[in-house]
Amino acid sequence: MSESEPILELEDVTIQYRTEGGMLTAVSDASFTIGQGEYFGLVGESGCGKSTIAKTLIGALDDNGIIESGKIRYKGEEIQDYTEADFNEELRWKEISMIPQGSMNNLDPIEKISDQAIEIAQVHTDMTKSEALERFEELFDVVGIQKSRIDDYPHQFSGGMEQRAIIALALFLNPSLIIADEPTTALDVIMQDQVFKYLDEIREEGEASMVLITHDISLVFESCDDIAIMHSGQVAETGEIETIYDNPRHPYSFMLQGAFPDHRYPDRDLEIIEGHPPENMGEVNRCTFVDRCPYAVEECSEAAPELEQHEGSDVEHRVACFRSEDAHEEHYQNKEMPESGTAEVEGDD
């Protein structure tokens, strides 16, 4: 597998859920690519389909969910039609592992953590028990937990500690891709930072790539290389984090960043985005942001905009908006460009 071949490619993927009211489209025509060792951020409000994508990548879509169309290539291999058995034998935990939502109960509360690790190791590899324990102790060290605690029960760990144990488990069989679905939502801000400190260290080693799924755009700007912003099932904009921050082209991107508070500029007015993301039934042939977008025109509600490369930037930067040029102009006429990060904040020691 050559160095340049991306580890994960999504091409016009549409995922739907069977509900009483018909086929609920959670993701429509989503496309993005993740390179080797790259950290990719998937950002959007609740209900935008990011968690659906996370579950699909590890083959754990809910029972009523189906991949309606599109291609998912992992290391060049198409996996959108993989069965539960295919995932178990070829991908799960050896190739793709996952850090589920930050809530407290990912581990079986009545079994020791070490036993659960050994069970995973013995299912996928022929490691002996001692080899598995040794490897697991090493990983506890990496995530900053005393080695002696691998034989504890999950309820003896605090929120932050359990989440770091989950990270250790995610790294256990040296996967190439780690999916982190809102890994620190339930944690306090200091604990969250501790978790991301260890994620950064893992990133330095550079073997595994990661998909970070979150509603908090600042986590992606701090810890990822590229970003995709999603709104109600559609990918609005993708590109490197600096490009998207300095030169957002999709109305939802610049309004979302405007709505995000930054404690360094407490006086900046927060951008208000009216309404809430709609639920889409069946075929989605309109821009899902049309009812909330101040720059929307007739055309936006007649067809779903395609993700096209933005001419203005020489780097990979794709936008799905019919009026991205004029919307950008209109938006920034009265506001100066977002201050770039380099401006030091006075009094900051």
Partner: protein, 330 residues
């Protein structure tokens, strides 16, 4: 709060409950109107014989003396004398306890195994026909009053098809054959099993739906917990995932098992009457109509003791399985 101290405390609490049950029963039966002696007078016995009888049984002593003697006797394993049969209560009741137990224990255990199995399978494939409608016949069976089920079983299988005897614990020949043999011999005969089938079915029908309902709901709850999803994404095979869920889901069922056992003993009275099964239920009903309260009192104590001990047992089992419980104590 180490486990040892938690168990010690539970043991002390259990002994206290047993004493409380004994005391309550003692005073309850003394407070009952219409004692055995009234029954005698009513049946035409002369006041002198009644007085002699009271003397002999020490019924005229002050209550606390009687109570003390009653406690001491119980501790020495002497459950008092049956007024009607003039023999120690224990000898009269001992075999009957075994008869009830030999019927209830297998009946409830089988109902729980079958019910839990159904609950697990139904719980795992929610929304299937089995899960939605499979439970209805079980509830039907459970809702049938036990004596109705028993009579229907007799009408259909005994007098109707003649496959099974209409009652009793073993046929007359078996009793004659094993008159001198050890007390447990007759229970090993096919004849006994032949007699036990219908009552056994009556018990199982009545209690089958309880574990099914609880296990099914428990599996739903467990499947909502994060670790079932985590077991799936870490690629564990179905069997291992099933083991995790089953272990968790069975906790509430294990807690209910002894409770059902005690309720069944209470409920068995009807089955014993219909099938003329010589258990403690029958002894209780006859004892009451004869106002033979030492027997009734002792049978009651047995049932209460069984309930208290089973709750104690449940706490111990729960403490062993679930590490979270024992550490925090209560």
């Amino acid at each position: 709060m180490s486990r040892v101290r938690y168990y010690a405390f539970r043991t002390v609490q259990t002994v206290f409950m047993l004493w409380l049950a004994l005391t309550l029963l003692f005073f309850m039966f003394r407070a009952m109107p219409g004692s055995y002696v009234d029954q005698m007078l009513f049946a035409g016995a002369s006041p002198e014989t009644a007085q002699a009888f009271r003397e002999e049984w020490g019924l005229n002593d002050p209550l606390y003396v009687q109570y003390w003697r009653y406690l001491v006797n119980i501790l020495q394993g002497n459950a008092g004398e049956s007024l009607e049969f003039r023999q120690p209560v224990w000898d009269y009741v001992e075999r009957k306890i075994f008869n009830t137990f030999i019927l209830v224990a297998p009946g409830i255990t089988f109902a729980y195994i079958l019910g839990s199995a159904y609950g697990l399978v139904a719980g795992m494939n929610r929304g299937s026909i089995l899960e939605k409608y499979g439970i209805v016949p079980l509830i039907f069976a459970g809702a049938f009053p036990t004596f109705v089920t028993s009579i229907f079983l007799i009408v259909i299988f005994a007098s109707g098809l003649g496959w099974f005897p209409t009652g009793g614990i073993y046929s007359v020949e078996t009793r004659r054959l094993f008159a001198e043999a050890a007390w447990y011999q007759p229970y090993l005969t096919v004849d006994f099993l032949h007699h036990a089938v219908l009552p056994f079915m009556a018990v199982t029908f009545r209690y089958l739906f309880l574990p099914s309902l609880i296990m099914r709901t428990s599996v739903f709850e467990v499947k909502d917990q994060g670790f079932t999803f985590y077991n799936r994404i870490t690629g564990l095979p179905l069997l291992k995932r099933f083991r995790h869920i089953a272990k968790h889901a069975s906790l509430p069922v294990i807690t209910l098992y002894p409770v059902s056992m005690t309720r069944a003993i209470g409920g068995l009275v009807l089955i014993e009457i219909v099938f003329n099964w010589p258990g403690i239920g029958q002894a209780l009903v006859n004892g009451i109509s004869a106002r033979d309260y030492p027997v009734v009192q002792f049978v009651f104590f047995l049932i209460a003791a069984f309930i208290i001990l089973s709750n104690y047992l449940v706490d111990i089992i729960y403490g062993l399985i679930d590490p979270r419980i024992s550490v925090e104590g209560e």
